[in-house]
């Protein structure tokens, strides 16, 4: 374990740095836009209100809430303090519900959906790609075009297709929601079953898209590795094919894991849009309703949380990589 310390520290430092940078960006970007954000929001909200005193009162209330009447730096610290406490302010569109509550309600749906879906998709996709590289022939010729087609579909495209085929036409699955309309969340079997049923389509859309993307990459990596010098040498030393395949896939997998870490941001983005298609009660739909309701605090908090999730995932994958690539440990121990 000792050998890993430097590596861990390195990754941890990077994680903190990126988190801070993301935080700053999340805070600054909207406020950099010309104009007073509060005024813009209030003006949109207050459309139709003729009572100017009323509008003024709302404006002052929100300014107080936001702290836009204070200098930027002070705003930043207030914001930071609040975030650490978990206070993201009140949601505009669902007033008086606090933003943190809205997000808390939806974040678990998203994590429960995307986290397993991306992992499952990654595993299946890489296995298929590796098989295609090894078996060649018919399997490869079928897999390639299918993967190319799937990987060219945007995430929401796959979601729509699955929705239409399985939910609308075949009516095997429900078209939207995380659970039946008539059910209140509780721990009964009926509810859990409803959740599972509603889970299927969004889950498999994300899995399918991930498979498409991974299979092609892994196939190329595996082909490259299969032609590597050490494969030939190992063969010439009499080592059996099965063992060599083990070598090849382990080596081909390493860059795939790195690739996952780098592309997790985009994957999550696509998955969020898929959630929207299914009106799945996760962060995607929350974001959408935030946008449609001009709910600035909700949007700001949602994007921050999403970024944090992605950064954490990235960090975890990098740590995992340190364990599976034996060279990392070796490089540290000298």
């Amino acid at each position: 374990m000792k050998g890993y310390r430097k590596y861990f520290l390195n990754k941890m430092l990077w994680f903190v740095v990126t988190l801070v940078a993301a935080f700053i960006l999340n805070f600054i970007l909207p406020r950099l836009m010309p104009g007073d954000p509060v005024a813009a929001i209030v003006s949109r909200l207050a459309q139709g209100m003729s009572n100017s005193t009323g509008v003024q009162a709302i404006y002052e209330q929100y300014t107080e809430l936001f702290g836009t009447n204070k200098p930027m730096l002070e705003q930043f610290f207030i914001y930071m303090k609040n975030v650490v406490r978990g206070d993201f302010g009140f949601s505009f569109s669902q007033y008086p519900r606090p933003v943190s509550e809205v997000i808390k309600a939806s974040i678990w749906w998203t994590i429960a959906l995307q986290f397993p879906a991306i992992i499952v998709g990654w595993i299946i996709g890489n296995s298929l790609g590796a098989l295609a590289a090894y078996l060649k022939g018919g399997f490869d010729k079928v897999l390639m075009p299918v993967s190319i087609f799937v990987s060219n579909l945007p995430a929401f495209g796959m979601a729509v297709i699955l929705l239409v085929i399985f939910a609308v036409n075949l009516k095997w699955f429900p078209t939207s929601g995380g659970y039946g309309f008539d059910l209140i969340p509780n721990m009964s079997w009926k509810f859990l079953w409803s959740v599972i049923v509603h889970y299927q389509l969004p889950f498999w859309s994300i899995v399918a898209i991930t498979i498409g993307g991974q299979a092609i990459g892994m196939r190329s990596m595996a082909i490259y590795e299969l032609n590597a010098d050490y494969v030939k040498y190992s063969r010439f030393m009499g080592i059996k094919d099965r063992k060599i395949i083990g070598y090849v896939f382990r080596n081909a997998m390493l860059p795939q894991v790195t690739g996952l870490a780098l592309s997790i941001g985009t994957m999550v983005g696509g998955a969020l849009v898929a959630e929207i298609i299914f009106s799945y009660p996760g962060l995607g739909t929350t974001l959408l309703s935030g946008v449609m309701g001009q709910d600035y605090p909700l949007i700001s908090a949602a994007t921050l949380i999403i970024t944090a999730m992605v950064l954490i995932a990235n960090f975890l994958i990098e740590i995992l990589y340190g364990f599976i690539d034996p060279r990392i440990k070796a490089a540290q121990s000298d």
Binding site: Y233, F236, G238, I239, P326, A330, A331
Partner: protein, 341 residues
């Protein structure tokens, strides 16, 4: 009568290209290496020497295919054998191969000792891991490699170190024949020397019974091998002892090779540099007669008429030319005389 470790008779192997054409990279090659002897194979790029090395192993990967001929290792004919048997009982423990640029021959994510364990276990030898480790350690020690290399990953070793490690691993199972394919070409001069020293040491100690050393540097072989074979366009054009091949080449191509290299050896310092004009023929459609004919200074009409057999000269020396030994020597003497003017 010295035992023949490796005997090859009329071996022919071909490549099948993407366009389904046959390229006979190794064309009716015969050779013999006795116990305790080493044979060098020299030739320019593309002459087929690497293909020959691969062909000798008895195991063929597409696009390389076996056509005809015999390969006998230590009295055992392997040319007709079932590929699985070849992998299990021949590759690695009867005949071993050190690839070119052996630096890349090691799996980057496997420790050296683990790779050695894999090699041993692939041959169904029931040795415990501890025994494997001891054996490896002893071998490494003998060859001057530090013991801690065993616990390292390839990325932690220098280029020269990797090359020597590969050599050590190749001889671990005490093969009868070791084929070294340009083992020193990718290294700096000091490492080159260490590699060659190591190979000779292996022969002396007896870890290997015979060796084939492939290179494009003909004079290098003088210090390494007992005999030398010169290859051109898929065929053997001369075979002689090292001394004969370097100082007294018969075939015009060998002569040309020696003449186009700067060699600070005694006796060769006065030789002037000349290049051999032209390029080797395309092996898809090799010319009918002598393959060197179009570049040869002493070409005659009968050279291109029919294929030319190997002629034997006293002492087991052979060469492939229509001209007799005497004619060739006269021609060379005349040439040297003209240059001196």
């Amino acid at each position: 009568m010295p035992k023949a470790m490796l005997e090859v008779k009329e071996l022919t192997t071909k490549y099948i290209t993407r366009f389904r054409e046959d390229v006979y990279a190794v064309d009716h090659v015969s050779l013999k290496v006795d116990e305790g002897r080493s044979l060098g194979i020299a030739g320019e790029s593309g002459c087929g020497k690497s293909t020959l090395a691969l062909s000798l192993m008895g195991y063929y990967f597409p696009p390389l295919y076996y056509t005809s001929g015999d390969i006998v290792i230590g009295g055992r004919t392997i040319s007709g054998m079932n590929p699985d048997d070849v992998r299990k009982s021949i590759l690695g423990n009867e005949i071993a191969y050190i690839p070119q640029a052996a630096m890349n021959a090691l799996n980057p994510t496997r420790k050296i000792i683990n790779f050695i364990e894999d090699v041993v276990q692939a041959h169904d030898l029931y040795i415990t891991k501890k025994d494997i480790y001891d054996r490896a350690r002893k071998l490494f020690e003998t060859l001057g490699l530090p013991e801690d290399v065993l616990q390292k990953y390839p990325v932690e070793l220098s280029g020269g170190m990797k090359q020597r490690t590969v050599i050590a691993v190749s001889v671990l199972l005490l093969p009868k024949v070791l084929i070294a394919d340009e083992p020193s070409s990718a290294l700096d001069v000091t490492s080159q020397k260490m590699v060659i020293k190591m190979l000779r040491q292996l022969m002396e100690i007896g870890y290997i019974s015979s060796m084939i050393f492939i290179t494009h540097e003909l004079p290098l072989l003088y210090n390494v091998t007992d005999d030398i074979m010169v290859m051109y366009a898929g065929q053997i054009v001369e075979k002689a002892t090292s001394h004969e091949a370097v100082f007294d080449p018969l075939h015009p191509y060998s002569k040309g090779l020696m003449g186009s290299i700067i060699v600070p050896e005694k006796g060769l310092r006065d030789v002037k540099l000349t290049a051999i004009p032209g390029v080797p023929p395309n092996l898809k459609n090799p010319p009918a007669g002598c393959r060197f004919a179009e570049r040869c200074k002493f070409v005659r009409p009968e050279c291109s008429m029919h294929s030319i057999p190997l002629q034997e000269v006293s002492g087991g020396r052979t060469y492939r030319c229509v001209l007799s030994e005497t004619e060739l020597r006269e021609a060379y003497a005349r040439e040297a005389h003209e240059h001196a003017k």
